[in-house]
């Protein structure tokens, strides 16, 4: 449908005003929230994610696309609740204790939300127990950890240990990412997966939660 295509394209252009207008238009037309979400917002972010991964666009483009996505999502949220649109699942994310870097973590959050997941972003410098407490309280089955510094990366192990100590494994899984990380490191600290970037985080979470695309 043309209006939803326009919505998707407004995300690709990073045009928040157009995204809000198209979302409002689609709601006024009486389209189901699920469809506006899938064919408009999620479809648009999927293109943005692919082009970012292919180095055709850069961080500023993704951030503007995300702003446009959130502009649409804010209007759609009440309708999603009213129509009981189920999210694809909940994911708790944050940057580990001692680390204030948030660009990579924010990108992962954007990509997950753009793929229809509910993201509980705890911000930066998050204590291990806070991750686990939030996941338990919110019923999230995945905790995503970010670190940019080689010095804060070891804190990830503490989160994995906190999950284990409380007997929450394997119901709650810990996935990790960040510039200095590797799959080998993820395995070494007992994390369930290493995600190279936001897109692979989406793929990993989909697989873990059994979401079909």
């Amino acid at each position: 449908m043309k209006l939803l295509e326009e919505l998707a394209q407004s995300l690709e252009r990073g045009d928040s005003q157009a995204a809000a207008d198209s979302t409002r238009g689609a709601i006024e037309l009486g389209l189901p929230a699920q469809r506006i979400l899938d064919d408009g917002l999620i479809a648009g972010m999927a293109v943005v994610g692919r082009r970012f991964k292919a180095h055709e666009i850069f961080l500023p483009d993704v951030l503007l696309a995300a702003k446009a996505m959130y502009a649409g999502l804010a209007l759609l949220k009440p309708l999603m609740i009213e129509q009981a649109v189920a999210t694809q699942g909940k994911v708790v994310i944050g940057t580990v204790q001692g680390d204030l870097h948030d660009i990579g973590k924010n990108l992962v959050g954007i990509m997950l939300e753009g793929a229809g997941f509910e993201v509980l972003d705890l911000g930066t410098d998050v204590a291990p127990e806070t991750f686990v407490d939030t996941a338990v309280r919110e019923g999230a089955r995945i905790i995503g950890l970010s670190a940019l510094l080689t010095t804060t990366m070891p804190v990830m192990r503490k989160v994995v240990e906190a999950v284990e100590k409380r007997g929450l494994r394997p119901e709650i899984r810990v996935i990790v990412g960040g510039a200095p990380l590797s799959a080998a490191y993820a395995a070494e600290i007992g994390a369930s997966a290493y995600c190279f970037d936001g897109i692979s985080a989406v793929e990993t979470v989909r697989e873990m939660l059994g979401v079909e695309r």
């Binding site: 500023p60 204790q97 001692g98 010095t151």
Partner: protein, 296 residues
């Protein structure tokens, strides 16, 4: 002592220093602790780090002020002490230099927040933050400024503008961090080498270049690309490779010998100041120093 710009335009190659953070950690810097808090509490560590690099042969030693704009210090509640933090860092390096013919370079890193509209940082606030840092550094007597690890050309230009508003004469280097992509080198914010060269040249930088993000192999490629596009003096500070985990410990894999080999190629390209970034040590600087001396 002759002016730094005269010396490099006269054909001399100068050696920079190496990593700061790693050495601060050896002296007890904890994850999550503000590295610049050492300037207030433990200046003797800064003197020791500077001394080690000077003894390794560095002609230029940087101040421990990478994160010392008030905007970034605010994350640690230290913004009100920005002037003191910057001034103390200069004093510590100056004390270590003593009578040596070496230069003190004031390090200015990114403010740590993305500029609007991509992030929340107000350009006027960021410009003022850099002005305040530079005023303190210049006031304390730095011989040059190095605006480094920039990924956003707009922020780099704000920093240069701020620096120039404080001092029109202090030698000013600006270095950006590039990542290799299948389409060439770009910063994470999408600035190409070509755009960096023209934007930084326009802004009034005396020296341009690249630091961080890459090991020596890629840095040589970046230096070549910069040199093809610019006749300005070049500054290159490579990482000692990209961090790897060996037995649970973070290791930067490139040896002093490896950086020394790369250093020869940087000399061939006409790079004017050669130092190190993350993972480089006084040993790396000493090895590069030998290559620079042989090249003379």
């Amino acid at each position: 002592m002759r002016g730094l710009l005269d010396r490099i335009t006269g054909g001399e190659v100068l050696a920079g220093d190496g990593a700061m953070g790693t050495l601060l950690m050896e002296h007890g810097l904890e994850p999550g602790q503000c590295p610049e808090s050492f300037n207030l509490e433990r200046p003797e560590v800064l003197r020791e780090v500077a001394r080690r690099y000077l003894e390794a042969g560095a002609d230029i030693v940087q101040t421990n002020t990478f994160g010392a704009t008030p905007v970034k210090l605010a994350r640690y509640g230290l913004e009100d002490r920005a002037d003191e933090i910057n001034a103390q860092a200069v004093q510590a390096v100056r004390d270590a230099v003593g009578p040596r013919a070496a230069y003190v370079s004031g390090s200015c890193g990114p403010c740590g927040s993305l500029l609007a509209p991509y992030g929340e940082a107000d350009p006027d606030v960021v410009r003022e933050a850099f002005s305040r840092q530079v005023r303190a550094l210049v006031g304390a007597g730095v011989d040059m400024l190095c605006i480094e690890t920039m990924t956003d050309l707009a922020e780099a230009r704000l920093a240069v503008e701020a620096a120039r508003s404080v001092s029109s004469s202090v030698p000013l280097a600006v270095t950006m961090t590039f990542d290799p992509t299948p389409n060439g080198f770009f910063t994470i914010m999408g600035t190409s080498i070509e755009q960096a060269v023209s934007g930084l040249t326009d802004s009034g930088a005396d020296i341009i270049g690249s630091n961080c993000g890459n090991g020596i192999e890629k840095m040589v490629e970046i230096a070549g690309d910069l040199r093809r596009r610019s006749a300005l003096p070049l500054l290159i500070q490579s990482n000692a490779g990209l961090p790897e985990l060996v037995g649970g410990r973070v290791v930067y894999p490139e040896t002093p010998e490896r950086l020394a080999e790369g250093c020869e190629r940087l000399l061939d390209l006409g790079v004017n100041i050669i130092g190190g970034c993350c993972g480089t040590t006084p040993e790396h600087i000493a090895a590069m120093r030998r290559v620079v001396d042989e090249g003379l």
